[in-house]
């Protein structure tokens, strides 16, 4: 096997046909169910892919970091939701600059402290900053804890200079469609008591992407991983192996003992993310081989010592457990079509910490 002989290992290869199919298929699902799609670019961090997602029908994009949003704005994207509490004078100044450059910038808040910071930065703005209240519907990360808290915070937000409350946002727990439906409906009713409408009800997550329509209250869906997919999505039944667009191309560098092979991809390529799975990725075409452990630049494969499926220099493709963190390890991903390497794509927002 001398796949992609022109590429040096380890590298991340991305199948363009698969990317385009993944983008199109979920867009069609959202269109069918009348859900606005707002892809999260944290997975690919590549402006061209974000533009492609919009060209196929996405309403806008989601970012987690101001630095990501700045890069997407530079690429001409004008509708961005940052699903993160933005605090501190430096970040707020950058947020304001960003808002003045694009058509629509939205952010989330889950506390009055965060809302007051935003207000301070936007009180003298040309247009108000649109704000969603983040709700904890069971995932246990950020978010207000109840519909009552949601409405109380919405009222605070809407009264603050420079801010406009426009709705609700959540990152739901796995299988949490009913929880989202119940929480959002209740929160909307409580907001209505304050004469506040919630035109935007934003949910998301790849694990339950095909169940998005089961929370009909949701108007907008945020999703990142679906563009590449990974072992975790496969394991949860969200995609098939052929839907996994990003693979780490690696090479066997050592066969030190029966039942053990060493590859040139370790935790600095595949990362240690288990994401609820066992072991560190899926070896394409070798379902009986385990990526047992990783050190920084080595991966240890184990297999039945009675077999010797490998030779030194042989290339393998690994579907990572969690593709979003893996794509963030590479300065470039290698774009391929029909098994042929086309060109590298710069992962422009890689490593944007702020």
């Amino acid at each position: 096997m001398t796949e992609f002989a022109e590429l040096d290992t380890p590298c991340a290869i991305v199948d363009l046909d698969c990317v385009e199919r993944n983008i199109r298929t979920f867009q069609e699902y959202c269109d069918e169910h009348d859900i606005a799609l707002r892809p999260h670019i944290k997975t690919h961090k590549i402006p061209d892919f974000a533009l492609q997602q919009i060209a196929v029908g996405a309403k806008g994009i989601t970012c987690q970091k101001i630095g990501e949003a700045e890069i997407m704005t530079d690429a001409g994207i004008g509708d961005i939701l940052i699903t993160y509490n933005i605090i501190g004078a430096r970040k707020l100044a950058r947020l304001r600059t960003l808002a003045d450059r694009i058509d629509l910038l939205r952010v989330v808040v889950d506390s009055e402290t965060v809302a007051r910071g935003l207000s301070g930065a936007f009180a003298d703005g040309q247009k108000p900053l649109e704000v969603l209240v983040e709700c904890d519907t069971g995932a246990g990360r950020c978010g207000v804890q109840s519909p009552t808290e949601t409405a109380n915070l919405a009222r605070v937000v809407d009264a603050l200079p420079g801010l406009k409350f426009v709705g609700l946002m959540t990152y739901p727990p796995n299988g949490g469609m009913t929880k989202v439906e119940t929480f959002f409906r209740d929160a909307m009713a409580k907001c209505a008591n304050f004469d506040l409408e919630c035109p935007v009800r934003s949910s998301g997550g790849t694990p339950d992407m095909w169940q998005a329509h089961k929370a009909p209250v949701v108007t907008e869906y945020r999703i990142g991983t679906y563009i590449y997919n990974d072992k975790s999505v496969m394991a949860r039944g969200g995609c098939l192996e052929e839907d996994c667009a990003l693979r780490v191309l690696t090479e066997i560098v050592s066969l030190p003992a029966p039942g053990r092979a060493i590859i040139d991809a370790g935790s600095k390529a595949l990362t240690s993310d288990l994401f609820g799975l066992e072991h560190f990725g899926y070896v394409v075409g070798h379902g009986d081989v385990t990526v047992k452990s990783l050190s920084e630049e080595h991966g240890i494969l184990t297999f039945d010592p009675a077999t010797q499926p490998f030779e030194i220099g042989q290339r393998l493709q690994i579907i990572p457990n969690h593709v979003c963190v893996v794509s963030n390890m590479f300065d470039y991903v290698q774009l391929c079509r029909n098994g042929i390497f086309e060109n590298p794509a710069f992962v422009a927002a890689r490593g944007k910490m702020v």
Copy 2:
């Protein structure tokens, strides 16, 4: 607490006094025990720190990737050991170019296949490539499995055009000093039967750094983590909290519920490396607080709900579990002295996959 107010979070801060002390202290230990020190630059990936390690007394450096070695060569370092099986025409050509640029380049092999590839690239060289045979003394990664295999491979290497066998290399298992001593002594005797000397006997590893002298056969010690240290070294008794030079500076962005705080450092900053530990880092000054879980850009801290030690916007320093992978996430680290930010240092070899 408004520490390092001029820095935006999350970022990696590096205390220069601590770095200098860590470099000096282990150099003194090696000098005392007459062990040549060859620091592994995979931890910091910063040429200035490598030059400092050499200025204080290191014999040369260790790299894992050709790309790392190229950057260190550009910085003027002329003595490099790459502890990795280098295979494939592209990498071998780069290795040869590198060898022609510096005084001393050494590599390791653990198979005849790898040795023959190196020979092909160096057969017409000005000087032979110095080669160590990598030995698996119990860590179960790369390496030949026995002293007999070692000697057999050494004989093959030394007979190949363009190569010169110069000794043994191992990355030992934790607490494996006796194993290294026994394996190396036996391998040297078996090599002597073939009239082959092993002037270089290279071992390494931060976990057992203070035990290096207990394998007196070892002439050279490779060590990376010691420059920064981390929670894993602390947990194994190798350093104290004040010896941990790199910390991730992070900010509380949400206090959604009693006993839970959310920070702006997730798996794209702290990584998911557990390294045998529980949880995802040590919160300086808050030993009773747990970094319970990470998503990509959020860290979830948990603590006794009866207490509320934090406020939104408060800054915390996290000592990561495994600093080598964390430093590799950041394009820059922020250099500090006496609690004052001095300047950023470019992590020049960050993300060098090849």
